[in-house]
């Protein structure tokens, strides 16, 4: 593996110094997107919308700021892609769904506003599994995204468009959202870095809700530094989101290069089951050894309730989704199926036509889990198990462990269509990532090697609000693997 140099500071410095213009950089990114994306049948299909006057204007505004000698932001002129479940005024926000085809939000998500305030130029909106429900980006109503490493394979999901766009070099950084692994799993499949912060670290205002108690906006970059810088830009309290914590955001970049010396790294045995590809297990153990060699204290630990994570997640997430998606009823905005002659008929026809199969499956699962007579058995039980999973993490971090090291996924990127007919196999693609969402802890994925020429991701998980030590460990590992 080659040493990885951060991309974002170089771009921002060039733009700030007037060596390159934001307009020229945005145009180049858009040209690359057009060329790579091609058609949904043939190309990468990473973007659902890109370019337009708004992009030119935003980039020109950055250049103008610099020409006037005013302070430019830390992301001046950096082209960024945004997952299409984050609200933007400048682009449609479809969530990869027919039901919101062409929908324009009247407001920008808080994270989008913060990126713009930092000087970033949002060049387009990326493809995703419909309403972020999926692990392959095949559930998009607008065609699947392909993996830039092998176009017969999926990029992972649900933030597959953002991951593919960064991996293909179309943009240096992107935003995604992670409800059960939707940033980390595609980061792993595409060979880049993806961070899911602590629940409450980043505002969800303008993130179209899938499962509100699990959803967090996350970041993609080619390097730990880039993904961290992007996170630093969007993190922090927001009066528009009551679940965004008041917790202060430290300067994570300041300690990024502090190394692995003194770090206690836990390797949880439940994340190495027999069905895990042994070559992936080997790469994880290699990574652990590299960290040990760099001064970390590596120990085996246990998170005993891990095996219940998937069933717990697939009760809680669909339950919340069934309620969150009730608003797509054809009454106020979005699709309204023609010909219906009563309110109930409008709902039935619109939702039948507008939602894809996976979304319908989860709405039904969730409705069932919350229904009278089944609530305790399903939703109630899942909430209790969620508490036990969170306790597992608290207990292991209370022993002095700083970060946990696990594989991000049980396999490398699978082939397009391979798991489409078997939802349960598809759900297992998130087996190592969902616990972090259930416990609300931060986690990231970074490349730790390849199997059959395809990227493999390693996952680092830290305690709540401990993104600092997590990115520091990731940077140390990134360096150790490069060296």
């Amino acid at each position: 593996m080659s040493a990885r140099v951060p991309l974002l500071p170089a771009i921002a410095e060039d733009v700030a110094a007037g060596r390159r213009s934001a307009v020229e950089i945005a145009r180049a990114a858009l040209a690359a997107i057009r060329e790579a994306d091609g058609t949904p049948e043939a190309g990468l299909n990473a973007f659902l919308s890109a370019g337009g006057d708004a992009v030119e204007e935003a980039a020109a505004a950055v250049d103008e700021t610099i020409r006037r000698g005013e302070a430019s932001g830390p992301l001046a002129g950096v082209p960024v892609a945004v997952k299409d479940n984050l609200c933007t005024v400048a682009f449609p926000t479809t969530c990869g769904s027919r039901i919101l085809e062409g929908y324009r939000s009247p407001f920008d998500a808080t994270v989008v506003r913060r990126l713009r305030d930092a000087g970033a130029v949002i060049v387009g909106k990326t493809n995703l599994d419909e309403f972020a429900m999926g692990s392959s980006t095949e559930n998009s109503a607008f065609g699947p995204t392909r993996n830039p490493h092998d176009r017969t394979r999926v990029p992972g999901g649900s933030s597959g468009g953002s991951a593919a766009a960064v991996a293909a070099g179309l943009v240096p950084a992107a935003l995604g959202s992670d409800t059960g692994g939707s940033v980390r799993q595609p980061a792993a499949f595409c060979g880049i870095v993806g961070i899911k912060p602590t629940y409450g670290r980043v505002s969800r205002y303008g993130l179209v809700a899938f499962a509100s108690s699990l959803d967090q906006v996350g970041t993609f970059g080619r390097t730990v530094y880039d993904a961290t810088l992007l996170l630093q830009t969007i993190a922090g309290p927001d009066p528009l989101d009551s679940t965004a914590a008041a917790t202060p955001v430290p300067d994570w970049l300041a300690d990024l290069d502090a190394g692995a010396d003194g770090l206690v790294v836990g390797v949880p045995r439940e994340f190495f089951p027999p069905e895990l590809d042994p070559r992936i297990a080997r790469l994880c153990h290699d990574a652990a050894e590299r960290l040990a060699a760099a001064g970390a204290d590596v120990r085996e630990v246990s998170l005993p309730h891990t095996e219940y994570a998937i069933p717990t997640y697939y009760v809680i997430a669909p339950a919340e989704a069934s309620s969150n998606l009730a608003r797509y009823d054809g009454v106020r905005y979005g699709l309204r199926a023609p010909g219906a002659d009563s309110a109930v008929a409008v709902y039935e026809a619109t939702r039948s036509l507008g939602f894809g199969a996976e979304v319908k499956r989860r709405i039904m699962l969730g409705t069932y889990a919350l229904s009278a007579g089944y609530y305790d058995q399903y939703y109630g039980t899942a909430q209790r198990v969620r508490g036990l999973i969170a306790r597992d993490f608290r207990e292991v971090f209370a022993t002095g462990v700083h970060v946990l090291l696990t594989p991000t996924t049980p396999s490398v990127a699978f082939r397009l269509g391979e798991k489409l007919e078997d939802p349960y196999q598809m759900y297992l693609a998130d087996i190592f990532t969902v616990t972090a969402n259930l416990a609300g802890v931060p986690a990231l994925s970074l490349p730790i090697g390849t199997v059959d020429g395809l990227p493999v991701g390693g996952q680092l998980i830290a305690d709540r609000w401990q993104e600092g030590v997590m990115v520091r460990a990731a940077a140390a590992l990134e360096r150790a693997l490069a060296g």
Partner: protein
């Protein structure tokens, strides 16, 4: 034919709109009556990506109401989602409270006609947002939706089944409205929908410890409608049971025009609301210090105030009740009494003249042009004998018509009482000289004509003669020589 006595059992669910300027989860105006869909934003429209943020003023008013109704306010409560599809419900769920409401376990007493006090327990009070309005009469053949009301803050007050008669329910609701108005938590205007009542009602054999099957009655637009609907439904259930039938648990809609309650279509009520904690809102925390701060600022409530009026001012129970009907009236009365220095006279003036005027003019106390200070000054003028009581009543009406002070009116119109002996003698002489025949009859023993002479004298003085002195002078002149 049956000799069985049936006892009605009634519980109420009262929705009260809180008097905030903005909605429960966004900054839109909560004002009533604006152009349709002019008070909306991404949050109350349920746009993708929008999130609720709780309005602390609404929480404070909810806590105030709960404390005023003797409830236990919980430091930690939670919002829940009540899921159902309806075109005027933008998110497909209503944000309300379910398992952990903000307050539980209160009560409110109402005084019965016989003077006994009946306590109705309050099971819970929860905070919730209102839905929008479906308008079926605006566009021919279509339903229009106005979302101005969507997200407006409400509290729902749920009683225990402690009421036993339609009249009792009405009396309790009247008391509840009075308390809520005193607390200034709501305008309680039923016409604007600020106060809405649903009732649960069942009947059981008198003396039975078990409840009968209840029905829920909705769509009652006034307290009198509540009383009528309950009477109707109790009679219906009683009749059904006496004929050997069984009551079906269902929801009925009161039709005021026809005077009957009819079942809702079963489709409309077969909801499974799938309540669960709203993940968009953290636990609602109102700490002990805040609860105590709100408690300390509670006004004196009507029952306590009426009791004090009896004790402090020596007013009869009825008068104390009338004067404490609204906080505004009670404040008015106390201001008059304090300045006039005569609580009893103040009570008479406020009950007779002020309320009489408001009733006659069909206007509100806030519109009255006579300030409490102005009325007190008038009362003192009467007490000092500057004007007579009868003249005082006329002056009050002039004050109410013109907004001028009593002193101004009395001076400008020359209404001050005349006690000057010479002037009174002159008027007496003139009256006696004008009616020689009557004088003759009086002197022959027809003494009841004294009142006639007195009336003529008052007329001559245009009501200004000091009646006591005038009467003494007249008697002196009529006395046998």
């Amino acid at each position: 034919m049956s000799t069985m006595q049936w006892e009605p059992v009634i519980g109420l669910e009262v929705h009260v709109q809180l008097a905030t300027s903005t909605k429960l989860f966004c900054a839109d105006s909560a004002e009533f009556g604006a152009a349709p869909n002019s008070h909306v934003c991404p949050v109350c429209l349920g746009l993708p990506g929008a999130l609720p943020v709780v309005n602390r003023r609404a929480v404070e008013l909810g806590v105030r109401a709960a404390l005023g109704l003797n409830c236990t306010v919980h430091e930690v409560s939670r919002f829940a989602r009540k899921n159902y599809f309806y075109p005027d419900l933008p998110k497909g769920y209503q944000i309300t409270q379910f398992e952990q409401p903000i307050a539980t376990g209160g009560w409110l007493e109402v005084e019965e006609r016989d003077g006994s006090v009946h306590r109705v327990r309050i099971r819970r009070i929860h905070l919730e947002e209102d839905a929008g309005k479906s308008l079926h009469d605006r566009l021919p053949g279509r339903t229009a939706i106005d979302l101005n009301r969507a997200g407006v803050p409400l509290i729902e007050i749920v009683t225990e089944p402690d009421l036993r008669s339609p009249a009792g329910a009405r009396a309790w609701l009247t008391q509840l409205k009075q308390v809520l108005e005193y607390l200034e938590v709501s305008d309680c205007d039923m016409e604007k929908g600020s106060l809405r009542v649903d009732a649960n009602v069942s009947v059981r054999p008198a003396g039975s410890a078990e409840f009968g099957t209840k029905t829920e009655v909705k769509n009652m637009n006034s307290f009198s409608a509540v009383e009528k609907a309950l009477a109707f439904e109790i009679a219906r259930q009683t009749d059904l049971l006496e004929r050997g039938g069984t009551v079906v648990h269902e929801t009925l809609l009161w039709d005021a025009a026809r005077g009957e309650a009819r079942p809702m279509r079963s489709k409309e009520e077969s909801h499974d609301y799938r309540y669960f904690t709203d993940p968009d809102l953290p636990a609602l925390v109102v700490d002990r210090a805040e609860i105590e701060r709100i408690r300390a600022a509670l006004p004196e409530l009507p029952a306590a105030r009426a009791r004090r009026f009896r004790d402090q001012y020596g007013l009869p129970a009825y008068d104390a009740g009338v004067l404490t009907a609204t906080r505004e009236l009670a404040d008015y009365y106390e201001a008059v009494a304090a300045r006039a220095g005569d609580a009893k006279a103040a009570s008479n003036w406020v009950m007779t003249d002020v309320l009489g005027w408001l009733n006659q003019q069909q206007c509100a106390l806030s519109e009255l042009r006579v300030s409490p200070e102005g009325l007190a000054d008038l009362i003192r003028m009467v007490a000092k004998g500057t004007i007579s009581a009868t003249m005082g009543r006329r002056v009050f009406m002039r004050m109410a018509e013109t907004g001028r002070s009593a002193a101004d009116i009395v001076q400008a119109e020359g209404l001050a009482q005349v006690s000057d002996e010479a002037q009174l003698e002159q008027w007496a002489d003139e009256v006696l000289a004008a009616y020689p025949a009557e004088l003759e009859r009086y002197r022959s023993g027809e003494e009841r004509l004294f009142g006639f002479f007195m009336g003529e004298l008052m007329k001559k003085s245009r009501g200004r003669a000091d009646p006591k002195r005038a009467s003494a002078i007249l008697r002196g002149k009529l006395a046998p020589r």
